[in-house]
């Protein structure tokens, strides 16, 4: 397990609360995330994991408390944050190449049509696609690609904007086990190479156990953060999910969590 990096804090939450209208989602959350940290965000369905990302993106205003992201108050359009939202299925017949999706990550929010520096932008798109090893199918319609291939290209879209922080909402959902491990390791590798801070929402902690620095739990109207060894215990998890969950240790000292799969069979909104 890699040691937690001692970078400067890039996320500082102080007695933060999230609410949609009058409906309080969670409150009294105080935590910091350091630059370059890889944090897995876990919690039962509907506990407010995506809500946390919406706060960090500046799409939702804190109901109480304060939040600083990369030294500023969160605001939409922050070019330093790469975001991959939770996916519904992309229409199979969508007549758009994966490459065009990636390109939007660079200049999609600019007005007008692309004029001038198109060559350098195309090069950036190529770089991002190469980084996620998706060059072989980037020119095919994105709807026709497999879930893992789509996920790589959407990751490339987030990377094309050259962010300092990645917010990934269930990038491993609907992937088979092999692809879960592959994508998780790819994200970890990219994060190390570019010193990116990563918050990754997941349902199944197992593919992430070898790579995460810390785990952030959103459950029972609150938020808790800690190192995997502290948080991932049978007692803690069973309490957080209000369901019987067991943490097993094999002869090599590897952990394995049992019981979460059933709990997380339905994806939350």
């Amino acid at each position: 397990m890699p040691p937690p990096p001692a970078g400067s804090p890039v996320i500082v939450a102080d007695r933060l609360a999230a609410a949609y209208g009058n409906r309080l989602i969670w409150q009294d959350a105080s935590f910091t995330v350091a630059a370059g940290e890889f944090v897995a965000v876990l919690g039962p369905n509907g506990s407010g994991k995506s809500t946390l990302l919406r706060l960090l993106l500046g799409l939702l205003v804190p109901a109480a408390g304060s939040l600083q992201v990369l030294g500023k108050r969160p605001h939409a359009g922050n070019a330093d944050i790469g975001y991959v939202p939770q996916r519904r299925n992309i229409d199979r017949d969508l007549p758009v190449r994966g490459r065009d999706f990636v390109h939007l990550g660079i200049d999609g929010s600019r007005w007008g049509v692309a004029v001038g520096n198109t060559a350098s932008n195309n090069q950036r798109v190529d770089e991002a696609i190469t980084t996620v090893e998706a060059l072989a199918y980037a020119d095919r319609p994105i709807g026709r690609l497999s879930g893992g291939e789509q996920q790589r290209l959407l990751l490339a879209q987030a990377l094309a904007g050259r962010p300092r922080m990645l917010l990934l909402d269930e990038p491993l959902a609907s992937l088979d086990l092999r692809n879960q491990v592959v994508i998780a390791e790819l994200v970890a590798e990219l994060a190390r190479a570019s010193h990116l801070t990563v918050l990754l929402i997941a349902h199944d902690i197992n593919p992430l156990l070898p790579i995460v620095d810390r785990v952030l739990y959103v459950a029972h109207g609150g938020v808790a953060i800690g190192k995997p060894a502290e948080v991932i215990t049978t007692e803690q998890l069973s309490r957080l999910y209000s369901a019987p969950i067991e943490v097993l240790h094999d002869s090599h000292g590897h952990m394995f969590v049992v019981g979460l799969e059933a709990e997380s069979a339905h994806h939350d909104a």
Binding site: A76, G77, N78, A79, P85, P95, V96, G108
Partner: protein
């Protein structure tokens, strides 16, 4: 349509120059081509986004709502285009504000559409004029276009195309990936409203050429065909515009020589091309599908 029996009946030969001279001999024909081209250009460009955003049925409904507006304006003594614009733009703004929630609301949209036609029927009855007016709005009256109409159409058409160009990238972003676009600071809701209002103007223009009922031929068909042949959005927009212009030119030309309604010919070209495109791209799709399977193996 002017009475052509007074002059020699036009005939089509193999002398292209003579044919073109013949085709543009009358001002009504020149105006039809001028207005038709502008309308087709803007319909094709905006149509690409209509299809990509899954708003074909909404666009269709918008034109029907326009029918109530156009006939209502006539009852009040105004020109049809004013009522057309007011009704389609208002309805467009409401649809745009609903945004994604509009998807899958076929029943609601259909009911509003039917009621709008009913309302138009009432206005036509109240107007006590000839049914010619209603027929013109329902099926278009491209051969009745004056030079003043052409000027108005030119301004409206240019504005819609320029507006789409101005919002092109964020509109594409919001269309393909609304959540990321929103996080990146794209004003998705305002764009959705703006798009539907631009569409309303394009629909109102297109009503002159193909009428309320045949709007699919100019807005949806060219884009639907283009999307079968290119996976690049920029090419799709251009291809849709070119196809819309071609259908219009072909329809006008044939209608000049064969005295059947131009709306029939334009929709026939659109439908024929769509069928052809389906057949061709089905073959293409099977082949790429096979290569994909081969790559995966």
């Amino acid at each position: 349509m002017p009475d052509l029996s007074l002059t020699a009946a036009p005939y089509f030969g193999w002398d292209v120059v003579r044919d073109l001279q013949e085709l543009f001999r009358y001002p009504f024909m020149q105006h039809a081509f001028e207005a038709g081209t502008i309308v087709a250009l803007s319909a094709g460009v905006i149509g690409y986004f209509v299809v990509l955003r899954g708003l074909s049925f909404a666009a269709h409904a918008l034109s029907h709502i326009g029918f109530a507006g156009a006939t209502g304006a006539v009852v009040l003594g105004a020109t049809p285009i004013v009522g057309l614009l007011v009704f389609t733009m208002s309805a467009g703004a409401v649809m745009g504000a609903l945004g994604q929630r509009l998807r899958g609301r076929d029943v609601t949209i259909g009911l509003v559409m039917a009621w709008s036609l009913g309302l138009g029927l009432l206005f036509t009855y109240l107007y006590q004029g000839s049914a010619q007016l209603a027929i013109g709005i329902l099926f278009g009256q491209i051969f009745g276009i004056t030079s003043q109409d052409v000027a108005v159409t030119f301004v409206a058409g240019s504005v819609t195309v320029l507006l789409v160009v101005a919002v092109y990238r964020p509109l594409l972003f919001a269309t393909l990936d609304e959540e990321v676009a929103e996080a990146k600071g794209v004003p998705v809701r305002s764009l959705s409203i703006a798009f539907m209002v631009i569409l309303a103007v394009a629909v109102s223009e297109a009503v002159q050429v193909v009428g309320v009922l045949l709007i699919f031929a100019l807005i949806v068909a060219p884009a639907a065909i283009a999307e079968r042949f290119t996976t690049r959005p920029s090419r799709g927009v251009v291809l849709a515009a070119i196809l819309a212009v071609l259908f219009t030119w072909a329809g006008l030309t044939v209608a000049y020589y064969i005295p059947y309604p131009v709306g029939f010919f334009i929709t026939s070209f659109a439908f024929g091309a769509y069928l052809l495109a389906r057949l061709l791209s089905h073959g293409l799709g099977r082949r790429t599908g096979q290569t994909a399977a081969a790559n995966a193996a």
